[in-house]
């Protein structure tokens, strides 16, 4: 019997698999394909202080082994999310993680204050790494001092543990991770997308209306693995790993690099059943590589 369970601050996970923020909406669409109660947890699409429309279209473009997106944090605003979406997800009895975004520290605080009114949020994923909004967002994720500041302020307010979602678009990921841990974060979530661009030859212009977008999918997996591996050596807080996971083998690779649990994003678009299928397959893969539990595999590449 393979033990898939993982215990992290605020998160009692029966398995380490959760859909990544922004790739799963608020779960409704994927609930038509399988029973969401099977998931380890769910990370909701980002919440901002008020509703946002996001960027003009086109918002996505395919790349070699991946895709670019520039949705621009479209969401109905935190109040609507607490009122309409959280109750929907609650029926599945899995931990609900709220992804929190903002243009200013005050907006992050406003979102967290509203989330505090809900009893059903298990943890916050503090999004300081969205590359697709004109102000705020990633600027907090590129500078260790700013990342510390927003982490501290949010930690002070939040009723639940805070996982900081990190940007890979930095020259020193370890320095960022260490600063965020020192600021009191309960965990790290890494990595968000890498900033990229694709030019449309017929029009000779960038395909995305936002011009740049976030690169995701299997193309970024080696970057994620490398960053998690480096960061794991320097922090003790848990890591939720993500970046191009498509299979249970990929999950094991993230665990070995140092992730305690993982999130799956882009692969949901290719296969709406991917999270469910990986949960079924993970015990076989752990067994194949002589592990009896997920926890045993975490950090295995460092030994």
């Amino acid at each position: 019997m393979i033990d898939l369970s993982v215990n992290l601050p605020g998160l009692k996970l029966k398995n380490p698999i959760m859909p990544a923020s922004g790739c799963f909406g608020f779960g409704r669409e994927y609930s038509q394909f399988y029973d969401l109660s099977k998931l380890g947890a769910v990370i909701m699409k980002a919440a901002t202080g008020s509703k946002r429309f996001g960027n003009e279209t086109p918002r996505v473009a395919e790349t070699a082994s991946g895709m670019l997106n520039a949705i621009g944090l479209q969401n109905p605003g935190v109040e609507k999310i607490v009122e309409k979406e959280v109750p929907f997800l609650k029926q599945y009895h899995i931990p609900i993680i709220a992804n929190v975004a903002g243009s200013t520290i005050e907006e992050y605080e406003q979102v967290v204050t509203t989330l505090n009114h809900s009893q059903d949020i298990a943890a916050i994923e503090l999004n300081i790494s969205c590359p697709n909004v004109k102000e705020g967002g990633v600027q907090f994720g590129l500078d260790p001092a700013m990342a510390s500041k927003v982490t501290e302020r949010v930690k002070k307010l939040s009723n639940v543990p805070v996982y900081v979602k990190m940007s890979p678009n930095v020259s020193n990921i370890t320095e960022m991770a260490v600063a965020i841990e020192a600021a009191g974060a309960d965990g790290l979530s890494m990595i968000n997308t890498l900033t990229g661009m694709q030019i449309h030859l017929p029009s000779k212009k960038p395909i995305l209306s936002n011009k740049t977008g976030g690169l995701s999918g299997p193309a970024i997996k080696p970057v994620a693995i490398r960053m998690i591996y480096e960061v794991k050596k320097h922090v003790t807080i848990p890591i939720i790993g993500m970046g191009g996971i498509q299979t249970a083998e990929d999950v094991l690779e993230f665990l070995l690099a140092g992730a305690d649990a993982v999130a799956i994003g882009t692969a949901n678009f290719q296969n709406p059943f991917v999270c469910s299928e990986i949960i079924d397959e993970l015990p076989n893969i752990l067994n194949k590589y002589q592990f009896t539990s997920v926890q045993e595999a975490t950090g295995g590449a460092h030994q």
């Binding site: 922004g22 790739c23 799963f24 909406g25 409704r28 669409e29 994927y30 038509q32 394909f33 699409k45 509703k51 429309f53 996001g54 279209t57 086109p58 918002r59 996505v60 473009a61 395919e62 790349t63 082994s65 991946g66 895709m67 997106n69 949705i71 479209q74 109905p76 395909i207 999918g217 299997p218 882009t266 949901n268 678009f269 290719q270 296969n271 709406p272 059943f273």
Partner: protein, 252 residues
Amino acid sequence: MIKKEILKVMSVKEIATDSYEMSLENEYISTHAVPGQFLHLSIPGHTLRRPISIASCNQMDKVVKVLFKTIGTGTKELSGYQSGEQLDGLGPIGHGFPIEDLKPNDSVLLIGGGIGIPPIYFLATALKERGIKLQFILGFQSKDFVFYEKEFNMLGETYIVTNDGSYGHRGLVTDLIPNVSSFDRYYACGPLPMLKAVKKTLAHKKGYISFEERMGCGVGACFACVLKTNDGIGYKKICQDGPVFAADEVII
């Protein structure tokens, strides 16, 4: 309900320059799809599925036909499929063209542009069965891109326009609107500039428009394909709420 289905390729035919007709066998989709809906096809080696509208369904033979244009590597690979090979498709997706309230002998104008024409054909066959009078304005880049002219002629009066005048009338689909007989409503599908012009020209008429956009998930989760609206919510998702909308429902 959207299902993830395996579709068996029966045939792939080039019906005009860069334009292919693919017949796919699948019982669930052929019995459930309605005009305006689409398939989200997975092409091995590609991260994103390709949204392709349905051009016809034959419930007896369990065959779904899709028409597509080879624009990039994904659609090029799709055109290379051989009969007997299988495709993974999500479908049928979206809300189709509303036709329930039409009565026999009502008159309808259908406007299609380029690769927006296939769903118009599926719609036309359904309307014909209900005894609706049909007129068509179909726009193509040039003569070599014209397809399904004979098929449309069998269903109603058909006007063909090409941008360069190499076939039919020269100009835009909207140039032909004054030439058609009176009609009760219109349906349109095609490139966005065409749809904008049609909506403006026919502002006084009831109409339904089907939109295309680069899509991510195809099921409403990723918010890649949105249109702005004037309602309190501010947006509609093309894949999930559309792809067909009443012309006055969305801002284009």
